[in-house]
């Protein structure tokens, strides 16, 4: 580990802060991607159902 990343006695607090922030800021965009996919899927399914009903 590079010396600059050695937080000594404050390691728990520094990495606890940066870790939680990283976790949230990586998870949020991923959740948003799956939300967009789900919305598109739902609309496509609705369109298919409408088409089937019309026939």
């Amino acid at each position: 580990m590079p010396e600059a990343l050695d937080m000594g006695k404050h390691a728990l607090y520094v990495w606890g802060s940066f870790g939680a922030t990283a976790l949230f800021m990586i998870a949020e965009p991923l959740l948003l991607r799956s939300r967009a996919k789900a919305a598109r899927k739902r609309i496509a399914r609705m369109a298919r159902l409408e088409q089937e009903n019309d026939q």
């Binding site: 728990l12 520094v14 802060s17 949230f24 948003l32 967009a36 919305a39 598109r40 609309i43 496509a44």
Partner: protein, 249 residues
């Protein structure tokens, strides 16, 4: 002048804004990734160890940007809410809706990183002082806004009711900001003052500002990404959405 006004109103239509939001998302994502990478490098490899707080002070590089964003996003949401009430534009409410989870996340991270900073420096994870309590109220305002909006079945009514909550809640923002001045708090005073020179080392200050700009770009990116989903969900019965999805498949 009048042609400019027409241009702005053109983008208040979800159908016109939808493709634009994608472009803004792309640019904001690139800026966020670059700035946060530089900011993180500076936070650990460039900024010196603090003479008083040792390595523990480095929490400032996420704590301050997260706290600023939690307050800033709230004000932006309240502005969108006010615009929505005045002009009755659907997109304004959608923008407020899209910003809320990111704002709540930053309010939570502000409290979380604050607790992780407080423990080694003050000897306690939590204290009911004015700064920390008013930030907690901000988190509750975000959660209250989201709960109120989603509890009303008619989305347009939900928009209006929650817009009023947002606007009333703005009173909390100056309370958070000035709390360290108005009351005797355990929380330290402002690191950056509007009318005075900063008390920080230059590289520390620069790292913090770069992280803040990175968080700012991140917030824009997530808001754009979320507003696109919100538009799809709320406009799912409109012809343009159906057509667009059909063309994609």
């Amino acid at each position: 002048m009048s042609s400019r006004l027409i241009n702005w109103f053109k983008f208040s239509s979800p159908a016109t804004f939808y493709p634009l939001a994608h472009k803004i998302w792309l640019v904001a994502t690139i800026i966020a990734v670059v700035l946060i990478a530089i900011g993180l490098y500076m936070s650990f490899f460039v900024a010196p160890t603090d003479y008083k707080q040792g390595e523990g002070y480095r929490i400032i590089f996420v704590h301050v940007p997260a706290s600023w964003m939690s307050m800033f996003i709230y004000v932006v949401m309240a502005c969108w809410a006010a615009l929505g009430l005045v002009f009755n534009t659907r997109l304004s409410a959608m923008m407020a809706q899209a910003l809320a989870p990111t704002g709540a996340m930053f309010a939570f991270l502000s409290l979380w990183t604050g607790a992780f900073w407080g423990k080694p420096m003050w000897g306690t994870w939590w204290v009911w002082d004015a700064r920390i309590t008013s930030e907690l109220i901000l988190l509750f305002l975000y959660l209250g806004y989201m709960a109120l909006r989603s509890s009303i079945d008619d989305p347009r009514r939900g928009d209006r009711a929650s817009a009023i909550l947002l606007i009333v809640g703005v009173v909390n923002i100056p309370i958070i900001y000035y709390s360290v001045k108005w009351w005797n708090t355990l929380h330290q005073g402002s690191t950056i003052k509007l009318n005075e020179e900063s008390s920080m080392d230059d590289t520390m200050l620069l790292a913090m500002l770069i992280m803040t700009l990175g968080f700012w770009a991140y917030s824009i990116a997530t808001a754009m990404s979320r507003v696109r989903s919100v538009i799809l969900e709320r406009e799912r019965s409109s012809t343009w959405v159906k057509q667009m999805i059909a063309e994609e498949r």
